[in-house]
Every structure is written in C-alpha cells, then in structure tokens.
Amino acid sequence: MGGISLNYLVRRLLVFFLTLWVAATLIFIIPRLAPGDPIAAMVARLSYQAGFVENSNLIIEGWKERFGLNDPVYVQYVRYLTGLLRGDLGYSMARFPSTVSELVGRALPWTLGLVGVATVIFFVVGNLCGALLVWNKTPRMVRVMIPISMMFTSIPPLLAGLLLVYVFGFLFKWFPQTYSYGFGMTPALTLEFIANVIHHGFLPAMAIVLVTFGYWALGMRGMMITIEGEDYMILAQAKGLKPFYVLYRYMIRNAILPQMTALAVSIGTLVNGAVLVEVIFNYNGMGTLIFTALREQDFGLIQGTSFILITTSALAVLIIDLSYPLIDPRISLEGR
C-alpha cells in the first residue's frame, strides 16, 4: 500500500543515470559538430584585442595539447566521461585556470535558492488562487482580484523582469537592481546578511512568480471544477462537514495530484525562464554564468553548466516521481 519497491527504485535510478549519460553525450557531441575550433577562436579573439599575438600557431598547438584536443574523439569522450564521474568538469577556457566546478560551485547555490523559493511560492500561490476561483465560499473581492492579477501570465519573464527592475528598482528604489547581495558584504550566516539576500532576491523571485502562478491557477481551476462534479463532493456536502475542511481535505487534496505531475514536467522550462531572469538582474547564479559562457564562447563552461542544470532538473523530477505514492494512495510503485 502506497510504497516503493526496491526493484522500482533501482529501475527508476537507472533511468535517471541513463538520462544523465545521454545528456552528457549530447553535450559532448554538439559543440564538436559546430564548424571552427574553440582554441583558434579564442586566440583570434586575443589577437583582435591585442592587435597581434606572437607565435599564435604555437599557442594554439600548445593549448590543444593541454586540453587533449589532438587525441582521437573516442579517447576524448572516455576522458570526458571519467572526468564527469569524478566530478571533474574540466577547465573554463575563458577564465583559465579556473575550473568549471569552482565556477559552478559558486553559482549553483544562488540559483537553487532563487528558483527553489520562487517555485514554492508560485506553486502554493497559484494553486491556492485556482482553488479559490472555484470554491463557493470565496469572498467576491478575491474572486474579482485573482483574474486581474493573472494578466502577468501572458508577459514573458524577460519583460516582467525589466518592468520590475524599472518600477521597483529604478523608480521607487525599494529593491536593489543587481546581484544577490550588497557590495562589500561577505557571505556569512548572520541575520543582516540573510535579510540582505532576501532583499536582493525579492525582485528576481517575483519576476518568476508573477509570470508563472497564473498558469498554475488556471490548471488548478480546471481540476477543481472536475472535482466539484465528483460524487464524493455531494456526499461531503450532505455530511454537513465544515466548508473549509471540505475545501482542503476533499477538493484541494484531490485536485493537487495532477498539478504535482505537471510540476515535474515543467521543471526544465522553469530553469530556462530563470536563466533569463538572472541575466536581467545580473544575479550571480547559473543563468548569468551560462550567459557569460555563451558570450565568451567558453565551451568548457557551457558544457559544464548545461550538464549541471540537466542533472538538477532530472534530480527534481526523480524526487517528485518517487514521492508520488506518498501523495496519491491509489498509486503504488510496489511490485512493478
């Protein structure tokens, strides 16, 4: 009843690792299919900046040797995969000798925090709004306000971010416009620093929440209407249960199940949106890191950051998948 068998767990984990392997392979292949050569491109950029680079051929050769680009492709591939297994994502080419792991290690916590908090907020707020749109005891005011607040849903996250920065960062100066904490502060677990981080994270998180929660509210509304017509709702009413109890124990509890599935499916899209929002706010997370990597054609960093984002998304989906039997008693992963 409502459990997970070892067999299922093992197979689900295999699928998870298969996903990562396919992703890693694609990330390896795609840059190599593109015309040109990252080292030559980099040296060309250097010589463009400096006017002339002496012995550029030697530099290109030396670096190719250093990054192992002269070895046969399969040797590079095996070295790349074993590196990944050891957690070695290689070097950033533009910021050599920084390793990709170092850069990612500095950026990832910020993104996880921002996207994590934003996800919790839009999921809770969105589903609550959707539920209140259907509940027959919802005050009229709330019923009118929710659809109005949902107009942001049709705005791309990029524009919502710009709008927020302009209005609340630039015009009213209520919130800082850039970065995850104030300049001159050193990250520490003090109340002051945490307050500062929340102050800085508010606008970017709002940019994500504003454009996303309406989507969840609409989905929830549809589910609630379906649940409202179920036979057990008539019985709940006939039983004379308290209205609020019926709302959360009978309606929301049942309507939330497909929403959880939808959340697992949408995590990839969510991360894409967060990348753009981070860039607008110059938030020092993965989004900004990927953006600079792209701008600097830093292939090592692009590969590393993409791989980490794919891993976190796959991990989030895995967690939601495995927790499903806990929230829906009808789904049992035993003996499958």
Partner: protein, 345 residues
C-alpha cells in the same frame, strides 16, 4: 420484508408538501418535480419509483437541500420532526445535515474520497457534528460497531476506497449513513450498480440496519422487484408528479393508476417473454407539460375531462392515494369499463 406495518396514526417524521423543483435552462425552466406531497411515518420504509428522468432523485436531493445548480427549489415545505428544513440558516443547515437527514448515495463507487482512509471518512462526519473525539479508542470501537452492523470486516478500517469491492464501498456508505442515528435516511439507487446477488445482500443489510437503529428510510430505485422485497409503501412518480402512493401489496396486487398498471406490467418475468407495453419514455416537453393530467398523452383511458382538470390526490383507502379521475366517484362507469378492458387484455 419488514414485519412492522405502519398505519397513518404513526408519528410523521418527514412531511413534504407542495415541493416544486425547476432546472433553469436557456429555453425556460424544466419542471423536474411538480408540487409533490407525501408523508413518511416513523420506522417506515418508503420506495420511490418511476422511469429515468421522472424526478425521483431530484425529489431526494430537494429534501436533502442538495439540489445542484441550475436546479432550484421553487416552493414547498419539508418538515423533519417538526423542523422546517427550507428555513434553516446555512450553519444551522450544516449542523442539521446527517443528524436529521442522511444520504446513501447513488454511485457508491465514486462516493468515497479516494485520498482518505475509510476510518477518516467516517471519523470526519462524527467530528463535524459531535466535535473532536478525544478518546480515539472509543471512536475506533464505535466505527468497528458500525462495521459489524453492516457486515464489514474490521480490516478495512485503515484501507483506502480503491482497495474495496463495490459491495464493500456500498456498505461503507450505509455505515456512514447511519453513524449519527439520523431521523431519516435516503438511499438513492443505492444498489443499482451492483450485481443481483450483492444487490439483494446490500438491500437486506440496509433493512436490517434500519430496523436495528430505528430510522425511517426512503429507498429510491427502479427495480420494482427488489423494492417489493424491502419497502412498506411505494410512491410512483411520473414526469415530476406523484401519481400513486400505496402499501406495497396494493401496488402489486391492484395497481390503480393507469401508469402504475403499465409499470407493473413491464416488470420482466424470468419465466415468460412478453412484449413491453410501454414503448416510449416521457413524451411531452418537460418545459411545457400538458394541461390537466400529466399522463393523459400516454394514457389508454384518457378523455376530454383529463385535459381540462388536473386530477387531485384521491384517498381510496387508508394510506392509498391515487391521482386519477377514474377514481373520482362521478366517473365510476368509466372506471368499470377501464377495469373490464384490463381484465380482458
């Protein structure tokens, strides 16, 4: 069959008067229940029968104050133990529910919340009306008691609805329905979705529990054979009107209303094949019912008078009422002819 036979001198627990329920549609109101009046006596089992769409379930939901939009109650009076249900304020109504009137629902398959354990669904109705139960052990004993009343094993206590069979779910609904010892229980086609064997067992469970706990029961159904086994009186509905209400043996032995006669005649026999006398469903537009008698368009005995005057409920004998002009004494010759026609066919 319950041995107890109640006369009209028994205490009335439910008194429905001139209950009228409409469904609003863009083309005008559909008259689902049209000025129905009847009494339910203490300890009695009343069967409510009629074809699909005749308003049986709507009547039940009207009594329970559960008519779903676009349906609405136009007028009428519903008194349970002297309480006028239609006048209750929202919170009063909530408290009155399940203690005054409880429901054993139509589709028991889907009437239990799929994400709640059986025990929690019975507990919530107890706690909604009697407050938080501090003594969990006593609560558990009470639920086990209900289980044994309806013949359920204690092991389902912790189960989810999807782990139960259809018959078990129906029993859970019965156990839940009588949990607070309500005055009146309404069973809305409680056995329709079950096979004949389980149907019979569940129906008997229903009667057994009813007698043990001492509630009054309204059973809605279209299985005339099954109802004959379990009810004391039968009320026959046609197109939102109650055409006849009579003790069960009268209905089967000497049905008076032409519609009841057709209905009894159409009960399938397992011994012989016979053609169905009723060939169509309700034929008129429920938005514009015909003048006079509601059944005159299909009635083999209808004459001019039926189109002009709506037949009143005529009390033929104690507890036996019929809404048909044939039983008006001034038309006794027509009645004699009609009965002769039936006897010849």
């Amino acid at each position: 069959m319950s041995e107890k036979r109640n006369g009209s001198d028994s205490r009335t627990v439910l008194k429905v008067e001139k209950l009228r329920i409409h469904y609003a549609t863009p083309q005008g109101d559909v008259i689902a229940v049209s000025d129905i009046s009847f009494n339910l006596y203490e300890g009695e089992t009343l069967g409510l029968v009629g074809e699909s769409g005749c308003g049986k379930s709507t009547t039940a939901y009207g009594i329970l104050q559960l008519v779903q939009p676009p349906g609405y109650i136009v007028n009428g009076s519903i008194e349970v133990d002297g309480t006028e249900v239609l006048n209750l304020e929202e919170e009063e109504l909530r408290k009155f529910r399940w203690t005054g009137l409880s429901l054993i629902p139509q589709g028991a398959m889907n009437s239990l919340n799929p994400t709640m354990r059986v025990k929690d669904q019975i507990t919530d109705v107890i706690e909604a009306h009697e407050g938080k139960q501090k003594d969990r052990e006593a609560l558990r004993e009470r639920i086990f008691e209900l289980f044994s009343n309806v013949g359920l094993p204690n092991r389902i206590y912790n189960m989810y609805p999807h782990e139960l069979s259809g018959g078990m779910k129906q029993r859970v609904c019965i156990a839940m329905g009588v949990a607070l010892h309500p005055t009146v229980v309404i069973a809305d086609e409680a056995t329709s979705a079950l096979d004949v064997v389980v149907q019979r067992i569940v129906a008997q469970t229903l009667i057994k529990v009813k007698d043990e706990i001492g509630v009054s029961l309204i059973v809605i159904g279209h299985d005339m054979g099954l109802l004959a086994q379990i009810v004391d009186r039968i009320a026959v509905m046609y197109a939102g009107k109650m055409v006849e209400i009579a003790p069960v043996e009268n209905v089967y032995a000497k049905p008076l209303h032409p519609y009841t006669q057709l209905l009894i005649d159409s009960i399938p026999s397992i011994k012989e094949r016979k053609p169905l006398k009723i060939t169509e469903g309700i034929t008129h537009d429920p938005r514009n019912p015909p003048s006079g008698c509601i059944f005159r368009l299909r009635c083999p005995f209808a004459w001019q008078h039926c189109a002009e005057v709506e037949p009143p409920q005529i009390m033929v004998e104690d507890l036996h009422e019929v809404a048909c002009h044939l039983y008006d004494e001034q038309f006794h010759e027509r009645r004699a002819n009609a009965l002769a026609t039936i006897a010849n066919s």
